[in-house]
């Protein structure tokens, strides 16, 4: 192995380096800005994201394998990186008012977000178990801190602690699985593992390793029965961070699942397919059933986010080109519509109003018709009702499943989607058919407005013109 770093590798890592550098610079600038005037950091972080996006754009259709095949730039990873940029930009735009309100508008927030971003970018580009784990831990550890950012509030610190304990537990399980795989195959490189395992020669150690890894990754996407941390953590964390956590790391973990399962364990598909089928159905069911009994809007969305992971898992089970495509498509749509819904909750946070209960939405259509209309569109989209993008996303998932013969799975998904429609529509009922109880006047700063309008246009636009994104995603899966 050559210890000098070739130029190729630097170029491949350029977007990650930009983001990591900005993450450090944010900390430095933070020192120069007085308390309570941290707005420039938001713009600075956005600039970093934009710069990285530019670098990624330049690499869009390239295939570069770097750092002794542990890191790879390909359209697949670039697709996810672009999605992360979008998510981070939207989250930064929508979070400022909330952070100021809750006195946590501190420079570290931007630092953490960029660090998580770096970690996620490494995750999606990782082609070695070691890099996978490195990215994953960078993301997880940073998220533990972010969950506890509202230091003065016990809910938030509790969320951070729970997340940390359970996250460490799952990381240990994941690592255990990885070590077993290494023990069996003698390599941590995904392609080499795939080559070694070949077409599924029965090997119980490899199977145990695979199961451990599946469990570890299932924890990261909050799939049942490894989802139990999610509602508590999502509810306790500050809302913008919840919004971020519920979409970005989940998407990154799905990218890892796709790459690891298809590249390293392609030969053992029948094994992991069975596990993921059970997990997918359980996850959808838990998401649908438990969301029904929630009175907290935030907690309801937490369960809804669990449920959505279940639908994306259907695409993983399918595992062919169409399945992969459907997962990628689903994640993009889910990210934007979920952020949109969270943006409304962020907006509800106001002097004297936590804005986290379902009842806080009562009569929103009277007092704030626009906010209600936006929420209505996001709810319809989450429920998967045309002409919103949520419909198209579910449509592709079910189509992939039916196409590959997983009819029962598709039926289960469709039925549970119908159940989940109930609580999305309940939100609409509360907004449109109940009388307002408070006379709070909500304000939406420009950034939040921008994020909301963008999400709305995105959700409607892709519902009507799904093609551009579909083409893009289709090109991205060719790299497999």
């Amino acid at each position: 192995m050559n210890m000098t770093i070739p130029m190729d590798n630097v170029i491949a890592l350029l977007p990650e380096m930009i983001i990591a550098a900005f993450a450090c610079l944010v900390l430095m600038f933070d020192l120069m800005l007085p308390q309570g005037r941290k707005n420039p950091l938001a713009w600075f972080s956005l600039a970093g994201v934009a710069l990285a996006a530019f670098a990624t754009f330049r690499l869009t259709h390239q295939h570069i394998s770097a750092f002794a095949d542990t890191f790879q730039v390909d359209p697949f990873s670039n697709f996810f990186k672009l999605l992360f940029y979008l998510i981070v930009a939207l989250v930064i735009l929508m979070s400022r008012a909330y952070l100021q309100q809750d006195r946590i508008h501190i420079g570290e927030y931007y630092h953490f977000i960029l660090l998580v971003l770096t970690g996620m970018m490494i995750m999606v580009s990782a082609t070695d178990l070691m890099t996978v784990y490195m990215g994953l831990e960078l993301v997880s550890v940073t998220l533990y801190i972010m969950a506890a950012m509202k230091r003065y509030e016990s809910r938030s610190t509790e969320a951070g602690l729970k997340y940390f304990v359970l996250g460490s537990f799952s990381s240990a399980v994941l690592l255990y699985g990885m070590s077993l795989i290494y023990g069996v195959t003698g390599t941590t490189n995904l392609a080499a593992i795939g080559a070694f395992l070949g077409d599924g020669v029965p090997n119980s150690a490899a199977t145990v390793g695979l199961i451990m890894m599946v469990v570890g990754l299932a924890f990261k996407v909050a799939a049942a029965p490894f989802h139990m941390w999610a509602p508590d953590v999502y509810e306790g964390s500050p809302t913008p961070i919840t919004a971020f956590m519920s979409v970005a790391p989940k998407a990154a973990a799905f990218a890892v699942i796709l790459r690891v399962m298809l590249e390293a364990f392609g030969g053992m598909k029948s094994d992991w397919e069975a596990i993921f089928t059970v997990i997918a159905v359980l996850t959808m069911a838990v998401g649908a059933v438990l969301a029904l009994v929630q009175t907290s809007l935030k907690r309801m969305l937490a369960y809804s986010s669990i449920g959505h992971a279940g639908y994306a898992l259907i695409g993983v089970v399918v595992g062919d080109a169409l399945g992969t495509f459907s997962v990628m498509y689903y994640l993009v749509i889910y990210a934007v519509m979920n952020l949109g819904a969270f943006a409304i909750i962020i907006m509800l946070r106001n002097q004297g109003l936590m804005g986290e209960e379902l009842d806080d939405l009562k009569g929103l259509s009277r007092t704030h018709p626009w906010a209600a209309l936006f929420m209505l569109v996001f709810m319809f989209s989450l429920a998967g009702i045309p002409p919103t993008a949520g419909f198209i996303a579910k449509f592709y998932i079910f189509m992939a499943a039916i196409n590959a013969g997983y009819i029962l799975l598709a039926i289960a998904g469709a039925l549970l989607a119908a159940v989940s429609a109930y609580y999305y529509i309940r939100v609409i009922v509360v907004m449109y058919m109940q009388e307002p109880e408070t006379d709070h006047v909500l304000t939406a700063p420009a950034g939040l407005r921008l994020a909301l309008v963008f999400s709305l246009l995105f959700v409607i636009g892709l519902g009507v013109f799904p093609d551009p994104l579909a083409d893009f995603a289709q090109q991205a899966i060719l790299s497999f």
Partner: protein, 697 residues
């Protein structure tokens, strides 16, 4: 691409008015009226372009492709579409304008404008479609808008009932229509007009199994599509919603239930002529349904006392005329009548609306009379409209109706029968039209003092559209004048029915040729006057309606009868003179009975009481439907509600599922203790269960 704006402008006004209704404060017309006029301007432009020989056909975009099924939205503007565009946007523009005056002060003013804009968009999307799916989309949308507008005064029981009736009867038709489209897809594997019409000829002998008997697929498609037309165009059996739809505000009756939406069925049959031409059976059904509806509607219109109901039944009857024309293959004649009828029927409705508006919302003609002195403009425009409907030279209805009659005369033995029905209907039409006219403007003054004191001419925004339409009612017929100069309607519309329009899809394939089906049918005859596309311009041949009317050949083919007397102009003139005399005598009879107060009608009604009551009660069709469909359904539904819904579904299923889910949720919630050690335990259990499951099974 400019054409895209034609439907999008009204859609834009719908979205604006719909979203910002709160801020409209009864000023919605400031957005809607300019938009629809702009749309009209663009339609005129499109019409010129098409007349200049530039029909267009392109796909705009594809939604989600599913295998071979590619739902696309596209635009096709050929002569047929161009004429419809002109009619729809013209009438819509005038109705928009009229609405400003008519709905002034109405609580739902802005809502009304939002919906008529949406309707205009839907209707334009329907006629501009280049595939069946978009046609269906427009078809359903216009139905929805019609429903929304009929129920505009939703606090009135009659309105809501009428809207339900319209919606449900249309659903019945739409079901057939949808099945027809499914069958098209199943047979040809495409929904694109060009592809379907090119390929349908290859399937002319295909059969399918229908409840154990083999039936011809093309016939089946044609009949199913026609079921849709029956619903939308209020043909016999699905007709009774149209008169009831008059519960809606009058501008709607003019726009939707006279000029545009109800003609969608005729438009669709004309559009699908390559399918219909292949099936003699279907053509016969179409022709007979049309003829019967024409007669049926006319007989009811004779005795109705509600001014709008008379016009509504007359619309139904005239639609029957058009459908009959399509059924004998005289598509050009049918379409031409559609266009002229659109103009003068909109005029009659708007004029009736003006009368109603002026006479304190009174609709019963028995309570009117001598209204001439109060409203001269309405009087004159209504006179022109009535003359046009009665088919008096030189008004529009004369030309278009006589063309249908002439085509019928030439369509074999069955055609002669249809011609006879047509003439009888023409007589009745002239009579009932002028019955209303005389009862409103002459006759005995039956108005109450209050009505008299309020009677006034309508404001300018109402009378201007009337005048424009009245002028149209006079001149538009000359476009199809068979006597001197070129017959423009044939020159313009004729080519649609025997030449292809090349199609430029977004993705692949080159030109698709629509086969000259009618031509094929006649190739063996040795002479084929329309094998070449009909020439545009001043070709003297063009003046000859027969040489220029490929439809007539199709008719003869469909009727399967002899094809004679084609070039016989003398005969045509004779028939014209005859029908003019018939219409004249109808008017004279109305004059004799209703110009002055008269006992004759009452005596006649008394001596033929059965017939009179039958006609007055619409031949008891509503009662029949009520007894056969409505009441059993309601009873059945009531039973279902009591047993199936309240007990089985509500108690057992819904409550059961809800309780089970809730209990499930509560149980799961019980596990969600909030304690980390429990969570870790569940996770570990999960791992062991998966491992165990894996190695045990």
């Amino acid at each position: 691409m400019l054409y895209v704006l034609i439907p999008l402008l009204p859609l834009f006004s719908f979205i604006m008015v719909g979203l910002f209704q709160k801020w409209m404060r009864n000023q919605a017309h400031l957005i809607c009226v300019p938009m629809v006029f702009a749309s009209f301007g663009l339609s005129v432009y499109a019409f010129m372009q098409v007349a200049g020989g530039n029909p267009v056909n392109f796909d705009l975009y594809e939604w989600i492709p599913v295998g071979d099924f590619r739902p696309t939205f596209g635009i096709m503007i050929d002569q047929l579409t161009a004429s419809m565009l002109l009619l729809v946007t013209l009438v819509s523009s005038l109705v928009h304008l009229y609405t400003v005056g008519y709905m002034h002060g109405d609580g739902g003013y802005d809502r009304f404008f939002a919906y008529i804009s949406l309707f205009t968009f839907s209707m334009l999307a329907l006629v501009m479609s280049n595939n069946f799916l978009q046609l269906f989309f427009g078809w359903e949308m216009v139905g929805l808008c019609s429903y929304l507008l009929i129920v505009h005064w939703y606090e009135r029981k009659a309105s809501t009932n009428a809207s339900f009736k319209a919606f449900i009867q249309n659903r019945v038709g739409d079901l057939g229509f949808a099945l027809g489209i499914f069958l098209v897809w199943d047979t040809v594997g495409s929904l694109d007009y060009g592809t379907v019409f090119a390929a349908i000829g290859d399937h002319r002998n295909d059969t399918m199994n229908l409840l154990g008997t083999q039936v011809n697929v093309v016939t089946m498609i044609a009949l199913l599509l026609f079921v849709g037309a029956v619903g939308k165009s209020a043909q016999f059996l699905l007709h009774s919603w149209l008169p009831d739809a008059m519960e809606g505000p009058t501008p709607i009756s003019a726009l939707i239930h006279a000029a545009t939406m109800v003609t969608a069925g005729i438009f669709m049959v004309s559009r699908c002529h390559p399918i219909f031409n292949l099936s003699e059976t279907a053509m016969m059904v179409v022709a007979l349904t049309g003829a019967f509806t024409a007669l049926f509607g006319a007989t009811i219109a004779l005795t109705q006392n509600d001014i709008k109901k008379v016009v509504a039944y007359s619309t139904m009857s005239q639609l029957g005329y058009m459908v009959m024309a399509c059924g004998i293959g005289a598509y050009v004649a049918g379409m031409f009548h559609l266009l002229t009828h659109g103009v003068f029927k909109a005029l009659l409705f708007l004029a009736a609306g003006s009368v109603i508006h002026a006479l304190s919302a009174e609709q019963d003609i028995r309570k009117m009379g001598q209204a001439k002195k109060y409203m001269p403009t309405t009087y004159w425009t209504m006179l022109w409209g009535s003359l046009a409907l009665a088919g008096i030279f030189p008004f529009a209805g004369f030309f278009s109706k006589d063309e249908i009659l002439w085509e019928a005369w030439n369509a074999g033995v069955m055609g002669k029968g249809l011609w006879l029905i047509g003439v009888i209907v023409a007589f009745m039409t002239a009579f009932y039209t002028f019955r209303v006219f005389f009862m409103v403007f002459y006759g005995k003054d039956n108005m109450t003092d209050e009505m008299r004191s309020h009677a006034h001419e309508s404001p300018r925004v109402i009378t201007i559209p009337l005048v424009v339409l009245a002028v149209g009612a006079l001149f538009v017929g000359w476009l199809g004048n068979p006597m001197f100069g070129p017959n423009l309607s044939h020159n313009f519309l004729g080519p649609v029915f025997n030449t292809p329009v090349s199609h430029v899809p977004v993705t692949e394939h080159a030109q698709l040729q629509m086969p000259n089906l009618v031509g094929e049918a006649f190739a063996e005859e040795g002479h084929d006057p329309h094998a070449a596309p009909a020439p545009h311009g001043e070709d003297p041949q063009a003046a000859d309606p027969h040489a220029m009317a490929p439809a007539a050949h199709g008719a003869a083919a469909a009727g399967g009868a002899e094809h004679g007397g084609g070039h016989n102009k003398t005969m045509e003139f004779l028939l014209m003179a005859f029908s003019l005399a018939v219409a004249g005598s109808g008017i004279f009879m109305a004059y004799a009975w209703y110009y002055r107060p008269n006992e004759a009608p009452a005596k006649l009604a008394a001596s033929y009481n059965g017939l009179y009551q039958g006609s007055l009660n619409k031949w008891y069709w509503d009662e029949l439907y009520d007894a056969v469909f409505v009441r059993p359904t309601v009873k059945f539904a009531h039973g279902l509600w009591r047993v199936a819904d309240e007990i089985v579904i509500d108690k057992v299923l819904v409550d059961g599922v809800a309780i089970t889910t809730r209990i499930g949720g509560e149980i799961l919630k019980f596990f969600q203790t909030g304690r980390v050690q429990h969570y870790a335990m569940v996770m570990s259990l999960g791992i062991f269960v998966i491992l165990g499951g894996f190695f045990l099974f």
